[in-house]
């Protein structure tokens, strides 16, 4: 009874802000609700079964958007949220503590800057010549200028999200590295390792759980994040060049270009995302054995 009592507040929150919205979205996804047929009388909304999902399957752009999403999640995760975060943590752990702290603090800036401001900075950076900052540098150096927005939109989408993503892994990895006993680190050097060998043989193996945690958490959160892309490219240029699934759900349901917001159809996109997220979470829990991670430590028998 007490256990349920303790769980009640969290349970209530999950119920209110996760299960209830999911149920509503699920229900909406089975209707044809859209601004085109929306009247003051909600009863006119039609229940159309799985028709929205059928449409989605046949949607010529859904496939492209699906692979866009996979590409976006995997590259941001692999390049920045994990690898770059790890590199930043390892570097800052091996330099002067103060300098390391300042360096890490800088990397948190992208995350704490208001996204509109942050994206404005990037748009200014990547703008066409003669306005864009990068292009001004190119000009000054005598290099050709580029229209980055249309030539390399993915590079910037990934950079923009990656720079935000680094700080999460960086904080987790840094605290994990700091918590490795000093004796262990010293023992490795005395045993004959170089600093690089110590990273490979001692530090990285001991970062196994933080690594798995960051992969899990960040892939799920990348999957559902879209506001930076919305502000940077709005899924363009052209048709769905950098559109990702979560952004599509938003576009369909809330901000259709043609002024016809299809709440029902957009909800279908959202439902697919929820299913993918839940499936991934379960797979991660199985593969990475999170139950072991949170298991009670075995009592040290001396």
């Amino acid at each position: 009874m007490t256990a349920y009592g303790f769980m009640a507040p969290a349970g209530l929150l999950v119920l209110l802000f996760f299960f209830l919205p999911v149920l509503i979205v699920l229900y909406l996804s089975l209707t044809n609700l859209a601004s085109a047929n929306f009247t003051s009388n909600l009863a006119e909304m039609e229940f159309i079964g799985l028709r929205n999902f059928q449409t989605l399957l046949n949607d010529q752009f859904a496939k492209k958007i699906f692979f866009n999403t996979i590409f976006y999640v995997l590259s941001t995760l692999a390049l920045f949220n994990v690898t770059a975060a790890l590199i930043v943590s390892l570097l800052t752990a091996h330099i002067n503590r103060r300098a390391g702290f300042i360096f890490r603090a800088l990397w948190i800036l992208p995350r704490i800057t208001t996204s509109t401001v942050y994206i404005l900075i990037w748009r200014r950076m990547m703008a066409e010549a003669p306005f864009g900052i990068i292009n001004q540098v190119n000009t000054a150096l005598g290099w050709p200028t580029w229209n980055y927005g249309s030539e390399n939109p993915w590079v910037f989408v990934i950079l923009v999200n990656g720079f935000i993503g680094i700080s999460f892994g960086m904080i987790i990895f840094t605290s994990a590295i700091e918590s490795i006993p000093k004796d262990l680190m010293n023992a490795s050097l005395v045993d004959g390792s170089s600093y690089l060998q110590r990273i490979r043989h001692v530090t990285l193996p001991l970062l196994r759980w933080p690594l798995l945690f960051v992969v899990t958490y960040q892939s799920l959160s990348l999957l559902t994040s879209f506001e930076q892309i919305l502000l940077l490219t709005d899924g363009g240029p052209g048709l769905y060049r950098t559109e990702v699934w979560a952004l599509t759900a938003f576009h369909r349901a809330l901000s259709n270009y043609f002024g016809n917001t299809q709440w029902g159809y957009g909800s279908a996109f959202a439902v697919v995302l929820v299913i993918i997220g839940v499936v991934l979470a379960v797979v991660y829990m199985r593969v990475f054995r999170f139950d072991e991670l949170v298991a009670e430590p075995r009592i040290e028998v001396l």
Partner: protein, 359 residues
């Protein structure tokens, strides 16, 4: 391998870790660094290992100055208080790690790891992980790992502190005999004077980052050069008392508020020349209960130690610790008489705390 430290200091900002340390360690010698917590023992050891860079001074191994050498180029083995075993490697992996880094061929690794494990009595544990071992077994693995690369110098940082008393006793003997057999120069950090006294050829006593003395256990015990050492070495600790000297009927006497004691002739001349207060020190075993003794007191606390009773006795306003035969069945409140073996007295300058060598 000989080790020579010259004017070695380490500062952490304003905090002094070690200050102006000079030490000569002979080849094959077992030297203990003894001192209370925070006196700079670990700092010194980590400088020897190459983890810390000295602020000033030089470290010489044999005829090489090693200040600039990385830890891996110093050929040292080190054993830590926390064992510091790699939790993700098996016992075999742990012991083989230094060999792997030296690119020793696999077969030879196998042979040497097995030999080291045999020596340490852990050959049956090679497949286990550190988490599955007891503290004693872990410390043996750590020792095996330190020995396997045949180091020139072995460094120990309070290696037995985490073990229970019984195991400590066995390991003490084992480490000592192993070191003698292999003839490796060993530096052993401890805050436990019994360990230092029983294991070391020579003891470097440190306090507040400074070397207080460097001498054999016997010397330290019999002729402590400072009051700090006199009080730190020996258990139960030496009794101290502020006294003055006085002449009475042509004989020298030692006086405090609470007692008067005659002084043996060998001290007389020096005592006569002393002016003002002096610190008098006497070890518990040099005071005895004696029904005809010259000093009377009252038992304050009795602490049974098994073989002896440790008595805290009040004489006037002074407390004295001494050891008594449990058969006397001493009890708090007993009136007793004491005699002091004054030939074993120690005297110290109360200001500089240096021993006054009057004998």
């Amino acid at each position: 391998m000989e080790v020579e430290l010259t004017n070695l200091s380490k500062k952490f900002g304003d905090v002094v870790g070690v200050e102006a340390l000079d030490l000569d360690i002979r080849d094959g010698e077992f030297v203990a660094f003894l001192g209370p917590s925070g006196c700079g023992k670990t700092t010194t050891l980590l400088m020897l290992a190459g983890i810390y860079r000295p602020t000033t001074g030089t470290i010489r191994f044999g005829d090489r100055i090693v200040n600039q050498l990385q830890p891996r180029d110093r050929n040292i083995g080190m054993v830590f208080q926390s064992y510091a075993l790699y939790p993700h490697m098996t016992v075999f992996g742990n012991i083989a790690y230094p060999l792997k880094l030296k690119k020793v061929p696999r077969q030879e690794q196998q042979r040497r790891v097995e030999a080291a494990a045999e020596t340490m009595g852990i050959a049956h544990l090679l497949d286990r992980r550190p988490g599955q071992l007891s503290g004693g077994q872990q410390q043996r693995v750590a020792l095996g790992r330190a020995l396997v690369k045949e180091p020139d110098i072995l460094l120990f940082d309070e290696p037995l502190s985490n073990l229970d008393a019984r195991l400590r006793l066995t390991m003490r003997g084992e480490i000592r005999s192993l070191q003698k057999r292999l003839g490796i120069t060993a530096i052993y950090v401890t805050h436990d004077q019994v360990e230092a006294l029983t294991m070391a050829d020579r003891i470097a006593v440190m306090n507040l980052g400074r070397l207080q003395a460097f001498a054999t256990p016997d010397d330290l015990y019999e002729r402590p050069p400072t009051k700090f050492i006199a009080g730190f070495v020996g258990n139960p600790p030496m009794n101290f008392l502020e006294i003055e000297f006085a002449q009475e009927n042509g004989a020298m006497q030692l006086r405090s508020e609470s007692l008067e004691l005659g002084l043996p002739p060998e001290f007389a001349a020096a005592a006569a020349a002393a002016d003002g207060a002096v610190t008098f020190g006497i070890r518990p075993e040099d005071i005895s209960l004696d029904d005809y003794g010259p000093v009377s007191g009252e038992v304050f606390v009795v602490e049974p130690l098994g073989r002896d009773d440790l008595l805290d006795i009040i004489v006037g306003t002074e407390h004295f610790l001494l050891l008594a035969d449990p058969k006397r069945k001493s009890r708090a409140g007993d009136r007793v008489r004491l005699s002091f073996d004054m030939t074993r007295a120690h005297f110290f300058d109360p200001r500089s705390e240096l021993a006054l060598s009057w004998k």
